[in-house]
Point group: C2
Chain length 239, copies 2
C-alpha cells in the first residue's frame, strides 16, 4: 500500500491530499482547486501502531490517507473490541466523529503512513461555496453508509468462508484500483484483526485460509497472499 498515486490523478483532485476518495466526478476549476489545496496543507507521518486518533478525542479534522493504511476499531464498554474497517491510501477517515464532535473509534496505523489533515470547519465553509465539493462530501459519507451496510450483510448472513472470500475479493479490488496487482499482495493486518473485522476468531480465519489453499483458490503464506482463482473466489460469496 506504499506506492503513491499517479500524478494525473493527483492533479485531478487535490494536489496535496491524494484525495482518491474525493475522485468521483469532482470537477473543480484551477482556482477552486487552489482553495481546496489551501485548507488541506498539513501533513503528518505515522509509524505502525501509532494512533491517528482515539475514541473520545475531540473532533476537528477529517483525515485523507496519502499513503499507507489504517484500521479503525470500536471499543465496547466491557472491553470487547471490534475492527470496523481497514482504510487505504486515498480514503477519508473520521466521518463517524461529526455527529458528536468526538471520535467514536480508534484509528491505528497498520504500517508507516502519511495523512493529510482536513479541518472540518474549513471544509464545510468551502463546500458552501463550491456545490460540486459539497455534493462530494455527501457522496463520501453516503458511500461509507453503504459500505457499512455491506458489512452488516456479511456479518449477518454469511458463513466463515463466504466472509473471508468477500474480504479477499474486496481487498483485491481496492489494490487494483490503486494500480497494484489484484492477485498478489501483502496483508497489512493480523489474523486476529481480520477475524475481528469479519466476526470470526483468528483460528477460524487461519483454518479458512488453509482450506482455500487446499482447494486451490489461493496461495497463502503468513501475510503474503496470492489469489489463484478470482472468479472462484467471487462465486464463493455471490452465488
Amino acid at each position: 500500500m506504499q506506492r503513491s498515486v499517479s500524478p494525473l490523478r493527483l492533479k485531478a483532485v487535490c494536489s496535496n491530499c491524494n484525495l482518491r476518495e474525493l475522485c468521483l466526478p469532482v470537477d473543480l476549476s484551477v482556482g477552486e482547486m487552489q482553495q481546496m489545496d489551501d485548507i488541506c496543507h498539513l501533513k503528518r507521518g505515522y509509524a505502525r501502531g501509532d494512533y491517528l486518533y482515539r475514541s473520545g478525542d475531540k473532533f476537528l479534522s477529517l483525515h485523507a490517507i496519502r499513503s499507507g493504511s489504517f484500521k479503525t476499531q470500536v471499543l465496547h464498554e466491557d472491553g470487547r473490541e471490534q475492527v470496523t474497517g481497514f482504510q487505504m491510501a486515498g480514503e477519508i477517515i473520521g466521518l463517524d466523529a461529526i455527529c458528536t464532535d468526538h471520535h467514536t473509534c480508534d484509528a491505528v496505523a497498520l504500517e508507516s503512513s502519511e495523512v493529510c489533515e482536513l479541518p472540518f470547519d474549513k471544509l464545510e465553509m468551502l463546500s458552501r461555496k463550491l456545490p460540486s465539493l459539497q455534493r462530494h462530501l455527501h457522496k463520501i459519507m453516503s458511500r461509507e453508509i453503504v459500505r457499512d451496510q455491506g458489512i452488516m450483510l456479511l456479518l449477518g448472513s454469511m458463513r466463515a468462508e463466504e466472509r473471508l472470500a468477500a474480504f479477499l475479493f474486496n481487498l483485491s479490488q481496492r489494490f487494483a484500483a490503486r494500480g497494484y496487482s489484484s492477485t498478489q499482495f501483502q496483508l497489512r493486518m493480523s489474523r486476529q484483526e481480520i477475524g475481528s473485522y469479519l466476526g470470526l476468531k483468528l483460528e477460524t480465519v487461519s483454518r479458512t485460509f488453509s482450506q482455500f489453499q487446499g482447494s486451490g483458490l489461493i496461495s497463502v503464506k503468513a501475510r503474503s497472499v496470492e489469489l489463484l482463482d478470482l472468479p472462484g473466489l467471487h462465486a464463493m460469496f455471490s452465488s
Copy 2:
C-alpha cells in the same frame, strides 16, 4: 409508533416534516425555518407493506418519517436479504442513495405511515445558505455511520441473547424519546424480520424471547412486549 410528536417539537424544527432527527442543536430563525418548510411540503401516506422506494430506484429525495415506521433491507444477488434497519417517526431515510444517485436498498412500511419528501438538490441548495442546516445534515449522516458501526459490533461479537437484549433496549430508548412508554410497546416487525436484522434465525429469536420471559426479564406475547427489568436487560449486553 402512531402518535405524532408534540407541537412544541414540531415548531422547533420543521412544522411540515416532523424532523425529529434534525432536532439536535438546529437553530434556525423564523425566516430560515420558513425556507426549510418551503422545500419539504410534499407529504405522502403508505400502508403496511408499501414500498417507499426500491433498490435501484433513481434517487431524488430523502424522506422524513412523520408517523409510522419502516424497515430497510438490502438484497443480495443470490436472493439472500437482510434488514439493515428499522426507522421510526422523526428519522431520515434514504441517505444510502446519495453516493450513486440510486437507492441501494428497499424501504417498506411496517404499518400505516406518513412521510415528508425532502428534495435533495433543494436541501443542498438551502444548506449552502444556512450553515447550521449544513452542519445538521452532516451530523445526521455521521450518526447513521455510527449507528451502523454499532450494529457491526453487535453482529460481529455478540451472542444471540446479547443481540436481542440490545435490540429491545434500543427500541425502548427510541420509544421513550418519542414520548411513549419505554417498557410496554408493540413490535411492528415479525420474528423473521428481527432475526434478519440481528443475524439470527426466527426460531432463535423466538426461543430467546421465551428464555427472557422465563428469567423474568420481559413479558412477551406475540408482538406485545413488556420490559420488566430494564437494568437487567442492559446488563445483558453491556457487562
